[in-house]
Amino acid sequence: KTTFEGHQVLRITAQDAAQINLLKELSEQQHLGLDLWMEPVHESLPVDVRVPFNSLQAVRSFLGYNHIQYRVMIEDVQDLLDEEQRHMLKSHVI
């Protein structure tokens, strides 16, 4: 069973087309295992990306180095899924 312990979802806000291009390059780095929930297309739209724990440092460094703004949208995906699971189990009992 796949788990998502330590995975974070970042909401990235690009300021211009150059940053969008940087994010596109980032998204093509297969070894990072990124899951683009909302893809980099235009600076008017946010980019949401699920980042595995092992890639967090690389991604956050990349964003910081290139002065690309972001915030952590989901701190730990697995926590949220566990919460969802608890709700569903409780519902089953009811």
Partner: protein, 308 residues
């Protein structure tokens, strides 16, 4: 639950529970609803469609939810829509009028293999579950597998990508089944494909920037539908063509349906704006379904009032 009145609409459910719900709803309302099996998924699951009908030889309105497996809010909303139709028929004059003139087809779990996989192995799975020869990566993006703009730059040729378009148009049985149904029906007037998240109502095209010939009407109808949606919980939607509102996307559902002659082809992106993504909490199911229903009604009523 022993009846659909007892069903827990405010929670997410496994595939078997959704299938039981559908059978129960049909049994309770067999004068209004029938279940059609339009095909089988790759793993052999039935592709169930609820048909709401009050007469023969009617034009049709199609609604699908759950084509991307991890977008759980969409089948949860689809379940609520099904019960809402039953509750409102004969009570709500607008819906009654629609159903007295049109059939409504509702496919609640459009990608059942993927949905099952999200419950058992990988909650964040999006694609189908068919293996890709020569690759260890499984599945195709079912919203890049349609035969309009297939294989263009707004899709990926890499089986390991989330937007992999597949080896050929309609390679996925889940898509082929809908294509065959649409062609054999021949008289669908509206096609609504429901996704999440990011709060958008989109119309063709995704594969090209040329405006659809009905763009003005589609745009105005999207404005009305999203305004009605927003009126309930102040959920703000953006709207427009896929390519101008989000990005180029090739081989998508509504580009194909529009080019088949189904003028009112739309795709929804339900809540939210960026706190939970695909893990929208269950306590938001009912508000999401309720507000979305208002928009669906605007589009369905417009369809009824503007025959073509």
């Amino acid at each position: 639950p022993r009846t659909t009145d007892d069903f827990d609409y405010a929670n997410y459910h496994e595939l078997s529970t959704i299938n039981s719900f559908m059978d129960m709803l049909v049994a309770e309302n067999n004068n209004l609803i029938s279940k059609i099996v339009i095909g089988q998924s790759y793993e052999g699951r039935p592709l169930n469609v609820l048909k709401f009908s009050t007469g023969a030889n009617r034009p049709g309105i199609w609604i699908d939810t759950g084509i991307h497996a991890r977008e759980w809010i969409t089948p949860a909303s689809g379940i609520w829509f099904a019960k809402k139709i039953v509750n409102d028929y004969g009570r709500d004059s607008v819906l009654t009028d629609i159903l007295n003139n049109y059939d409504i087809f509702l496919e609640i779990v459009t990608n059942p293999d993927g949905y099952q996989f999200t419950h058992t192995s990988n909650r964040m799975w999006r694609k189908t579950r068919k293996p890709n020869p020569g690759s260890s990566c499984v599945g195709v993006d079912p919203n890049r597998n349609w035969d309009t703009g297939f294989g263009g730059p707004g899709a990926s040729g890499n089986p390991c990508d989330e937007t992999y378009h597949g080896p050929s148009p309609n390679s996925e049985p889940e898509i082929k089944a809908i294509v065959d149904f649409v062609k054999s029906h021949g008289n669908l007037k509206t096609f609504l494909s429901i996704h999440s998240y990011s709060q958008m109502l989109l119309y063709p095209y995704g594969y090209k920037s040329t405006p659809a010939k009905d763009q003005a009407e589609l745009h105005e109808l999207a404005r009305k539908a999203t305004a009605e949606l927003q009126s309930l919980h102040n959920t703000r939607y953006t709207y427009g063509s896929i390519i101008t509102t989000i990005y180029q996307a090739d081989g998508v559902t509504i580009d194909w349906t529009y080019d088949q002659g189904i003028k009112y082809s739309y795709t929804f992106e339900l809540r939210d704006t960026g706190r939970y993504g695909f893990v929208l909490p269950a306590d938001q199911i009912l508000p999401t379904a309720e507000e979305t229903w208002l928009a669906l009604m605007v589009i369905m009523e417009h369809t009824k009032n503007n025959p073509y």
